[in-house]
């Protein structure tokens, strides 16, 4: 019998994976803590029969990436297949895991437990070698039941409280702690939504997780614009979780996205950010070209600078909305932070949104994904009437 070790911090998610692997004929052991997982890997009763490791990257005590690096540094684990679960938007982390010797990387938000088991079955070719390393005396693994009682609505409620608290403090240490809590909660929502078949929630939640990770490295970027985006994302996820859609995540090739900005670096920043979210925009420096494109095509999203010579972003938006196919096309206005607060209400009307530059790449990526999903869901609802 093939034996698999799953190191996944969310007990509910781990138990779903466990059940699926057992149904497929695997013997399964689950641990929920990085350090404990690392020691279990070296325990003789397990390591001598271990076939493969399924490793989440975000774990308490020791992260998945560190576990991977540590075991790959040992000759006895050379051949052990290690399947990593990560967030597709955290490209660098996935890349790091690949460099560190992951056998395969799975996108947690879009890989259902069934798909995970099927793909691992087909990827497995040989058993890993194993050897001894005992846990040091006194080692206390984290409580395996911790967090098991958490539900998606419960985690979203906690996330909302974190967002509110973030808005009330300027203490960098408190903000950092709140942000870390938010990252953990979002990670949990991504996992649960993914295994629960809530593709839209899982997709947006994983994008939010990636954005929060960017923000965690740049806490000074926590400003009214980034807080507005976080708050919007939490509300959006709460909304889609109430009405599970069971549809596929949005695919980049199916959308017409247009970036219009007369300034070349800002244009590049917007296009780069959308690429990071898996979206491929058309780019123009001229509002007149943007308008022409809107007259000839159905656009799913427009990202527009506000202050452009000839035709400003607000006027461009009005005209785009008068074209036959684009009366409801959402527009994200890009503006300076000083104009953000005064403009946010006006710009947010009618499905549009505002973002302050300079923005972190995943902030725009996240906004774009939310607007695209919202439009997709609205169309689906309209068709079902």
């Amino acid at each position: 019998m093939k034996t698999i070790l799953i190191i996944e911090d969310d007990k509910v998610v781990a138990s779903i994976y466990e059940k699926k692997f057992q149904q497929a004929g695997f013997e399964v052991e689950c641990v929920h803590d990085g350090q404990e997982g690392f020691y279990r890997l070296h325990a003789p009763e397990l390591s001598t029969k271990l076939t493969a490791l399924v490793l989440d990257l975000m774990l308490p005590h020791i992260g998945g990436l560190d576990i991977l690096k540590k075991i790959r540094a040992q000759k006895r684990f050379d051949a052990l297949p290690v399947f990593v679960l990560t967030n597709a938007f955290l490209g660098e982390v996935g890349h790091e895991a690949q460099k560190a010797g992951a056998t395969h990387i799975f996108n947690k938000a879009t890989t259902t437990p069934k798909k995970l088991v099927e793909q691992i079955q087909s990827l497995l070719s040989k058993d890993g070698e194993a050897a001894w390393l005992e846990a040091p005396p006194g080692f206390q693994p984290s409580n395996p039941n911790a967090g098991a009682e958490q539900t998606i609505p419960g985690m979203i409620e906690q996330a909302r409280k974190c967002v509110q608290a973030l808005g009330k403090t300027i203490d960098p240490a408190v903000r950092q702690t709140l942000l870390l809590d938010l990252i953990k909660l979002t990670h949990g929502v991504t996992s649960r939504a993914s295994v629960g078949g809530m593709a839209t929630a899982a997709h947006v939640s994983s994008a939010l997780e990636a954005f929060l990770n960017e923000l965690g490295n740049r806490i000074t970027e926590l400003n009214p614009s980034t807080q507005h985006t976080i708050s919007m994302a939490v509300d959006f996820i709460a909304g889609v979780c109430r009405t599970p859609d069971h549809t596929e995540a949005v695919a980049s090739e199916s959308f017409n996205i247009l970036v219009v900005d007369d300034e070349r670096f800002s244009r590049h920043a917007a296009s780069h950010a959308l690429n990071k979210a898996g979206l491929k925009p058309l780019v123009t420096s001229l509002p007149s070209v943007a308008l022409q494109l809107a007259m000839e095509n159905k656009l799913d999203l427009v990202v527009s600078d506000v202050d452009m010579p000839g035709l400003n972003g607000f006027e461009l938006c009005k005209r785009i909305h008068t074209t036959p196919e684009n009366h409801d096309t959402p527009v994200v206005f890009v503006t300076g932070l000083t104009d953000f607060e005064s403009g946010v209400q006006a710009a947010s009307s009618g499905g549009n949104d505002l973002i302050a530059k300079p923005f972190l790449p995943m902030e725009l990526g996240l906004k774009a994904l939310m607007l695209l999903h919202r439009q997709k869901l609205a169309r689906k609802n309209a068709n079902s009437l």
């Binding site: 007369d262 300034e263 670096f265 590049h268 780069h272 202050d307 300076g336 530059k357 300079p358 790449p361």
Partner: protein
């Protein structure tokens, strides 16, 4: 201690850490901003508030995006002056922007030498 004139993480974000691409970005930025400062000089001499506002706005946006914080601050100030049609401070701001741009150039010469 004086703050560095550049937040290099912004540029690293924009170029995914590719040093060659970053160098190209910097060259383009320095060239574009030099031209904008020359344009601003002419606009200030003409006392053309709208022209100053647009040039300063574009320059500030590019500087913010590329993480050239020192230039962004000065150009935003200039944009604000032009928006309020109070142009008396703009020659001094331009002079400070020219000095700041020289510092940015020196910063990157050091940065890429390392």
């Amino acid at each position: 201690m004086e703050a560095p004139p550049v937040d290099t993480i912004r540029l690293l974000d924009l170029t995914d850490g590719d040093r060659e691409e970053m160098r190209e970005f910097v060259e383009l930025y320095l060239q574009q901003t030099s031209e904008q400062l020359a344009g601003l000089k002419a606009a200030i001499e003409e006392r053309a508030a709208e022209k100053i506002r647009l040039l300063a706005h574009t320059g500030a946006g590019a500087s913010a995006t590329c993480g050239i914080t020192s230039m962004e601050t000065l150009l935003r100030e200039m944009e604000m002056c032009a928006r309020n049609k109070t142009l008396n401070d703009t020659p001094a701001l331009l002079e400070r922007a020219e000095i700041a741009l020289r510092r940015v150039r020196e910063f990157f010469e050091d940065y890429f030498e390392k």
